[in-house]
Amino acid sequence: MKNLFVVIMLLMFSSSVVGAAAPAISVESAGPKVQIRATVDAILDELHAEDEDHLLKRQKISDLIRDNFDFKIMAQGALGRQWRSVTVNERARFVELFIDQLEETYLGRLRAYTDQTVSYGSENIRKNRAVVETFIEDAGVKIPITYKLLPRGSDWLVYDVVIEEVSMIRNYRSTYGDILRRKGMAQLLEDMAQKIDDLKKRNGAEFGENHDAKQA
């Protein structure tokens, strides 16, 4: 009986040592998985923070997203081959709109996924690309979400998000490509600006509502 107690004590002690040492090691290597995990967890924490002004909350989440996503590469990928057939001004405007729209969309998505659990799968680094698997579990359904990253200095930046085999950037490219062919660049930019306005109104209102509902 006494032996068992000692064994348990040892086990608990060793696990707490390992537990304490693990984050230190991760910070040093700062692999893509560690970074994704830190970012997603920080966003979830922020979403769960009860007593915080919703505008501040939004700003913090927005900063987290902007620090970890390579929006310029994403915008370029979303325009694909058409990138070279539009003017420099149109490119700049497109990148600007694309970033805004992505952010509003992402914020909207997060609102829908507050009570779900996120788990982390494998990390795969090949040459200068990394792929990190995560899973969102919701009502018995496990949705795989894969982040694709590129190295930037000592960090990794996300350049695509793949949800259930569907690449977000490829999806945007197919939509933009179709609209470009039919209506042209000027109309695409106008449509995007209009959409962002609508999303901003919605997200602004719903982040407020969410906040109030939680207080009640």
């Binding site: 829908a112 018995g140 695509d160 569907v166 939509t175």
Partner: protein, 257 residues
């Protein structure tokens, strides 16, 4: 009886047709696109490297776009005026019960997945799906609990006849929006018919009961969903294009795995 035989024959003809036409069609489509891309893309292999291949090669053929958009509109109305209200009403049932009900409907698909895994020589998956069916149907209380997954990590792996055809090189043909059921392709749409024969409900119940089961399953699934379709409609510049591409990418991923 005569009627079923006729449907059988028709189905067989259809399958043979796409089996023959599908690969050729796709091959020729790919060739055309690749040729035109070669000159235009030239040195620019950056995106190809980063995001797979170019969007134009990826796109599914959509010769019936006008019809498909009409069906998309129809399904959109069905969703907002019929399915969604029913699903909202169904939310009076506690969530864990609805999750269990969803598991039961999923469990009934295990035979389908097992058969199609077999047809693709994926014997491990076939064994896993068979185990899932046996375990979940018995100690999992008719599939209410997905014990095979929670106890042994035997996750559900969807394998349907469309994927089997894809495995044998049958192309998707073209995009097709099916009334009520939604996004599909010629290949996957026709595959719904053979898939139906692997459904235990079809063998156990009459037509009306089978239809009712499908309806309940659909309402239940929608009740558990967090407004995915609503977000798509709100967020996307053209929801039709979003769904078309997402469907295509998703199915291609499923065929490749």
């Amino acid at each position: 009886m005569i009627r079923t035989v006729k449907i059988h024959n028709l189905l067989l003809i259809f399958i043979i047709l796409i089996a023959l036409a599908g690969p050729c069609w796709c091959a020729s489509l790919n060739n055309v696109n690749n040729d035109s891309l070669m000159t235009e893309q030239g040195d620019d292999d950056f995106f190809e490297d980063l995001y797979g291949d170019d969007g134009d090669v990826d796109a599914i053929a959509d010769p019936l776009e006008t019809f498909n958009r009409g069906m998309f509109w129809f399904n959109d109305k069905c969703y907002f005026y019929v399915l969604k209200p029913l699903a909202c009403g169904f939310r009076v049932v506690p969530e864990h019960v609805r999750t269990g009900l969803g598991n039961m409907f999923d469990n009934l698909k295990s035979p389908l997945y097992a058969v199609n895994a077999f047809l693709q020589f994926k014997f491990k998956r076939m064994a896993s799906e068979t185990t899932r069916l046996v375990v979940n149907s018995t100690i999992g209380l008719a599939g209410f609990f997905d014990l095979a997954d929670s106890l042994w990590g035997l996750e559900k792996k969807e394998e349907d006849f469309g994927q089997t055809l894809g495995y044998y090189g049958v192309g998707e043909g073209f995009y097709l929006v099916i009334p009520v059921l939604g996004a599909s392709s010629l290949r996957d749409g026709l595959s719904i018919i053979p898939d139906g024969y692997a459904d235990p409900i079809y063998w156990l119940a009459n037509f009306e009961a089978t239809l009712a089961c499908k309806g309940v399953s659909m309402v239940n699934r929608t009740s558990l969903d967090r407004d995915t379709y609503e977000s798509i409609v709100e967020e996307q510049l053209d929801p039709y294009l979003f769904v078309r591409d997402a469907y295509t990418q998703h199915r291609r991923g499923k065929v490749a795995d």
